[in-house]
Amino acid sequence: MKKITIIDYGLGNLRSVKKGLEFVGSHPKISSKPCEIINSDGLILPGVGAFSDAMNNIQSLRSTINDFIDMGRPVLGICLGQQLIMTCSEEGGDIEGLNIIPGSVRKFPCNNLKVPHMGWNSIKIIHDHPLFRGIENGEYLYFVHSYYVKTDIKHSLASCDYGLDFSASVISEKGNVIGTQFHPEKSGDAGLKILKNFVDMC
């Protein structure tokens, strides 16, 4: 049985992610212990809340997460979790991220669109990837965020249009670190399929 650990760094509701992973047949554990994290088959970096709070809270686990990534094992960052793995964010100033994938986190510009970007939006799959196995191009997924990720096409697995094209999903150079701006655990059957695909990658 795959050991999936949901990293608990004191922010957000981890229950839905855990239940979603259980629903697709894995046995996830919520933990903030380095020894448990490092011995996992896969990590989930969840996140709801402010970028700077999250970065402060996650500092003590940073080297553990980096070691885990260096071993080539899969990590999935969800929502704020995707934003944290980027180079930097303008949320709360200009704050350094975990810098695993090059790119920045930016505020949606004030035009006629509502912020937060909240609800079901369709994604455009840019690169074929096991994470999106069984997911159709144009699939609707659930988003709720006020900041978006901007990266180059090489590191972008899928995009989404909300006044501008942003990265709905990102991937690291080595391919083992992935992020999704949408919440797979809140995206109905399509989201559960994506969670299942991640578990299969572990």
């Binding site: 957000g12 229950r15 839905s16 239940k19 609800g119 939006n121 609707y140």
Partner: protein, 273 residues
């Protein structure tokens, strides 16, 4: 493209024995017709974009029952869930979110103690704080000249007054000003219910819905009055709402969610199929 959301609302009645039923459900082919969890699953399967549970029990001493309902729903239904009704403290909010709800809808407590909006948004994030605003038309436009007066469909003038305790108490507060304030204080979404329309099947109250949609940056969920498919369409086109909430038309089986979405889609409204 971001789609318009269709949100069934389940008015949950809790009893002393830990049981719970949804008001006004008449599905004949559902095993346990009134069970909120079964109904949530049903709506999820039909393609509801979100769900709202409203605890309409008069006394909120049965909170544990609601927590159980939320937990059991969140174990099996993987779309956003908002819970409202009698929420009056930070610890309440924490308990509900921990049980698996994604958002809480705060109504009377926010009017009586607006600071709870700022406090809860700081702790839990704006995205999970929905402020429910119930309002009623007030035709006295002369003595209240600081109010946001609007012209109604019939040409009459009125301003919209915030009401609390399920519509039983008027507050004298201008709904447009209140909505602007709750946004500034950190609300992530506004659930607007016109008490003039609630339960009437006459359609959404368009003037106030449109006004709030155009005034606020955060999304507006229109509620109160849906009787047919055209009403939902008008809530999005004339009212410019981001989401439509309805209870009776779904519970009584008059319309299914796929029917609503098919209708909207044919009329050019982007919905998730």
């Amino acid at each position: 493209m971001l789609t318009k959301r269709i949100i069934p609302c389940l008015d949950v009645i809790l009893d002393d024995t830990g049981g719970s039923v949804v008001k006004g459900v008449e599905f004949i082919d559902l095993k346990k017709a009134g069970d909120p969890v079964e109904l949530a699953k049903r709506y999820n399967e039909q393609g509801a974009d979100e769900l709202v549970f409203l605890d309409i029990t008069a006394s909120h001493e049965k909170r544990d029952t609601m927590i159980d309902v939320i937990e059991r729903t969140a174990d099996e239904v993987f779309i956003p869930l908002t819970v409202g009704g009698g929420i009056n403290s930070i610890s309440n909010i924490r308990q509900i979110l921990r049980a698996g709800a994604d958002k809480v809808a705060i109504n009377t407590t926010a009017v009586k103690n607006p600071e709870i909006i700022r406090e809860s948004a700081d702790i839990f994030g704006s995205q999970c704080i929905v402020i429910a605003i119930d309002c009623k038309r007030n035709y006295d436009v002369n003595t209240n000249n600081d109010k946001t007066v609007m012209q109604l469909e019939d040409g009459k003038l009125a301003w919209y007054e915030v009401v609390i305790y399920g519509g039983r108490k008027r507050t004298g507060i201008d709904a447009v000003k209140w909505a602007t304030q709750v946004q500034e204080m950190g609300a992530g979404e506004v659930l607007l219910t016109s008490m003039d329309r609630d339960g009437t099947y006459d359609g959404f109250d368009i003037p106030i819905t449109k006004k709030l949609s155009e005034t606020l940056d955060v999304p507006i969920i229109a509620s109160g009055g849906v009787g047919n498919l055209k009403h939902i369409y008008e809530g999005f086109t004339k009212g410019k709402a981001d989401a439509a909430l309805a209870a009776s038309i779904f519970h009584f089986g008059e319309y299914t969610i796929p029917q609503v979405k098919k209708y909207l889609s044919e009329k050019g409204i982007a919905v998730r199929n």
